[in-house]
């Protein structure tokens, strides 16, 4: 039981990652796939930041009266990752809008059927 309690954050990160991968692979709707991708990226942020926390510490802003700070390096990396994630989400959504206008649908199997019918 103590193994689960000490690592609970890691188990939830794992569950979120598996859920994100499942949504991307198993759902045929392009918009749902993009949401699953965003969920997967969010779970990776948690994976990076959870090991950096020190119980009894505080945020990495140097102030009087505190001597233990959380590790600032994962925060820097994840700040970049969040902004890059929204940039890719925006481009993916623009592509979905164009696909909808070209094919009339955003279901993956209907799009493939239309492509095969054209050949």
């Amino acid at each position: 039981m103590s193994v689960i309690a000490a690592h609970y954050a890691y188990w939830i990160t794992l569950a979120l990652m598996v859920a994100g991968i499942y949504i991307v692979i198993a759902r045929g709707n392009l918009l749902k796939k993009l949401i699953g991708l965003a969920v997967l990226q969010s779970s990776v942020y948690l994976l990076y930041i959870a090991p950096g926390k020190l119980i009894g510490g505080t945020a990495p802003i140097i102030a009087q009266g505190h001597s233990v700070y959380s590790n600032p390096l994962p925060h820097v990396l994840i700040l970049t990752a969040i902004v890059v994630g929204v940039a890719t989400l925006a481009l993916g959504l623009a592509l979905v809008v164009r696909i909808r206008e070209a094919y009339g649908t955003i279901e993956e199997d209907e799009i493939l059927a239309q492509d095969r019918a054209e050949e």
């Binding site: 609970y8 991968i21 198993a26 820097v76 925006a90 955003i106």
Partner: protein, 179 residues
């Protein structure tokens, strides 16, 4: 502790998100999930990251998803068969990741390698060398400023890409818009 409650709620939200067919409800649940993630990040003392995740994940991402949802329309088709193979693949990937996570140190261990290498040097030297108390800003803008330059370029490229994809010519919709 509050972190355990928040983490469990996030897992429940994502499972509900996977099963919903109404895409508008899925987008709203994604916004709820992002906001819970921002709260968990704040409980883990990552204040800069929590502010960015709340603003970007629960704010801008939701607005863009709603805008795209308005343009493409609202319901997901019912999946034809039980998706057994994707479930097996996802759980297998999760198993491999769980095996890899055995090597991670226990939660909040001050002797873990990540706390003893470069991080103490940044925490001690950053206010003296840069005069900025917020160590995250100092590392982001000064020690690792090439990464931030690349990231700004990525944001600019995403904007330019969306302009190229969604720009309108001076003619009505449906007049051969196959560029």
């Amino acid at each position: 502790m509050i972190i355990y409650v928040l983490l469990t709620t996030m897992a429940v939200t994502v499972v509900a998100l996977a099963r919903l067919q109404n895409l508008f409800a899925a987008v709203v649940l994604f916004s709820v999930y992002s906001f819970l993630m921002a709260t968990v990040l704040f409980a883990l003392d990552a204040v800069d990251v929590a502010m960015t995740e709340a603003a970007v994940g629960a704010g801008v991402s939701t607005v863009l998803l709603l805008g795209a949802l308005y343009l493409v329309g609202g319901m997901e088709a019912k999946p034809l068969a039980r998706p057994l193979l994707p479930l097996v693949v996802s759980v297998a990937a999760g198993g491999v990741l769980a095996y890899g996570m055995q090597g991670l140190p226990a939660f909040s261990d001050p002797q873990a390698p990540m706390h003893t290498h470069v991080a103490p040097r940044y925490l001690e030297q950053a206010p003296k060398e840069t005069g900025v108390p917020n160590v995250v800003t100092a590392v982001l803008a000064s020690y690792r400023s090439f990464d931030t330059l690349g990231e700004t370029l990525v944001v600019f490229t995403a904007g330019a890409g969306v302009i190229a994809l969604l720009r309108r010519r001076r003619k009505r919709k449906g007049a051969g818009d196959a560029r």
